[in-house]
Amino acid sequence: MRQFSRRDVLRASTAIAASGAFASVTSAAPPASAVTPELIAAAKKEGKVVYYTSIDLPVAERIAKAFEATYPGIAVRVERTGAERVFQRIGQEYASRIHSVDVVNSSDAAHFVVWKREGMLERYVPEDVAKYYPAEHKDPDGTFASFRVWLCVIGYNTTMVKAEEAPTSYADLLDPKWTGKIVKAHPSYSGTIMTATFQMARDLGWDYFEKLAKQKVMQVQSSADPPKKLALGERAVMADGNEYNMFIEKERGTPVEIVYASEGSPLIVGPNALFKNAPNPNAGRLFQSFCFSPQAQQLSIDAGGLRSLHPQTKEKPGRKPFADIKKMKDDPAEVERTSADVKAHYSRLFGV
């Protein structure tokens, strides 16, 4: 069948591996691209850019509105869903030869491994990325770079749980006193949770999830949702969820608190990339450049609660400095290899 099947992916990847012999000779990032008046004019002619993303919707729309304010006349359409859905959606649309995405952001860095391997990404390096971004956070071939970084954390509602009784580790969540009181998100929907589940299964063992599944957790989809369920007071504790949503809630005065697990918190990296077949290539380039500008990066910190790799940005006071937190190690290549198994294993344990 001509759908986005594993067979197609395999065939495509062999073809690309074969051509890789030649490609490797020239495999260096293209020169950095500055934002020129010509680019802006061409982008304005296109008038719009389509951004598929898995960032929590209000944050994504904030960034979109900031772009629209900087470049009036270019509308950003945010297409927001879970990273795993974004991946599935693009795969399905491309299999039907529908090219509607310009720029993508995903919380599952493994997706970029696949898109790059299939030759779907445009080689485009914004000036800020070339100048300021650390090597391990940009593709050597110039197809993507880390737009955002954050952690998958534990959290609790402070009116429902006293600070001294709050969990401090993943092991604590298995205590019977939390039965029926935990909310958690789903790896088949959320890239954050997919990545976190991989890291935790690797470091803590599947044994942990097996026990957690017996805690009668409330199963939501997006990693942005557990913080919101804590805010409503629907559950007392979240087993996983976005650190950035917790910052947003906390700074809004919601009674929630973050717990960085003593075992380490899963590190989540969310790259941005431009598609080769983007319907609005110039607006796409402009938007990609804007996303890595100090202005957008600082906004993602201040309004979005995210961490930035741009050295010209400042961390927001009151938040625990990124460097002081114990993190688990990310491994996109391995996530890419094992994601189907991780999801299947998870569904078997949790029933959905």
Binding site: M1, E61, T81, S100
Partner: protein
Amino acid sequence: MSIALPALGAPRTQRIDLSSPILILFAAFLCVLILLPMSWLIYFSLVDRNGAFTLDNFKTLVTDSAFLDPLTTTLILATSSSIICCAFAAPMGWLVARTDMPLRRTVRALVTASFVTPPFLGAIAWELLAAPNSGLLNKIYRATTGAPPDEHLFNIYSLAGVIFVISAYTFPYVFVLIANALDRIPGDLEDASSILGGGTWTTARRITIPLALPALLAGALVAFLQAMTLFGSPAILAIPAGFHTMTTKIWSLFNYPPKPELAAAASVPLLVLTVALLRAENLILGRRGYSVVGGKQGNPRLVRLGALKWAALAFVFLVLMCPVFLPYGALLNATFSRVATSFVTFDNFTLHNIHFVFFELSATQLAVKNTFLLGVASATIGTIMALVIAYLTTRRAIRGYRALGFLATAPVAIPGIVLGVGLFLSYARPPFVLYGTLWILLLAFVTIALPAAYQQLQSAFRSVHTDLEDASRILGSTRLRTLRDITAPLLRTSVIATWCFIFVGVIRELSAAIMLFTSETKVISVLIFDLNESGDLGAISVLGLIMLVITFAVVIAVNRIPGFGEARLRNA
């Protein structure tokens, strides 16, 4: 299949025979709508990834508990919902049609309002009301009884919760069927019973109830099928509780990595069950048709309830709390509250949600436009198709009209999500790539709407006797002129009702749309479902209310179109 062609009497003179082209055109179109998707569905269920024949998909279906559990759950859910719907809709239908209970018209209007409410929106509203900890009702319960913080009265995230919410939005179907049936039972029969000495209750037991029984049975079946094939409510309420129904399971098979073969196979039991149940209904009702329409009818006699009528009214309003008053109250509250599940007070009143949906959410405009376009287009095309087919079949205007009638009714046996899977498998790949356009959604919506639209208009045509048309023809009018001057005005009300029925159906459709949308062809229902997955309840409330305003505005506007003037809003 073979079709018996009845003799049509003396052939009319000097007429160009348009029957074969019309028949072929419509039959071909209906095949595209129904046969092609279903063929692909069956084909995919019988092949493996490489396209080789296999029964493994079905073997997985009957051996893997990941499929057996949802199937059992679905059957429990459909049976319970069906029983609950009948238990509440039957007495309510009787009260409204047959007693002197006050406010009967208002009650009918409110049931229509609950029909217009999409079930998935109702499910989200019930999350706001009855989530175990944050639900408004549970908060009231704890505040009034002083119960401890983690105790709750309701838990909507449970099998019972799903059954409750599905019943609340399925009972209008049963109610309308029963109320209409009771409306049609002639008073003469009841009078005869009274004259022969039967008291009120004897008459009810011996005459009214038996005559209404076929409608009750039909209602039970409709409720069962609705509950079995609904996608939105279980997706919103069952998955958080950690279980699947068949529809959510089928949908989850399209998560990456997608397994369309298994999804196709898992769709087959739903299809088979639906066909079997409809056959069974035909067998039972086929023999029990009471010819109650015909001859002069006496008005139905109203049972005097006396003082009991206030108790009856209280019961009816208590039932209507569930689909109408409480959910709308919760949505309105969430619209203006900073925290969706806190009661609006002076302190936490906010217009932020409204501002967000109208000025920040970039998907709003496109979704509203798509939904509106699809609603109007599907309703118009669906009504025209149903009108033509109903005319051709009731007037036996062309040969092979029975095949047309059959094809127009067939989609009733195809659950929305199954149709979605079928259309996706048919039109997402060359040679016919409709996926990514509004056309594929239009196909889905017209297909889903056609059976009910056809049946409504067919009965409308039957009620217009051919005498009037014949008189017009005898006086020299052409067939088309007769249609325009005689038949059309007589059918006006039914046509408008059918149009509105399809329009409302499109607005509340989620199960086929969720399989077929792309980012460019998103509709409001899908957008709301998306927002629910990321927990943006404030935005959902605003969008949900916009959706209802659009629906009511369009329905009212269509009923006021000049020339259609005095047509009345009817129960859909």
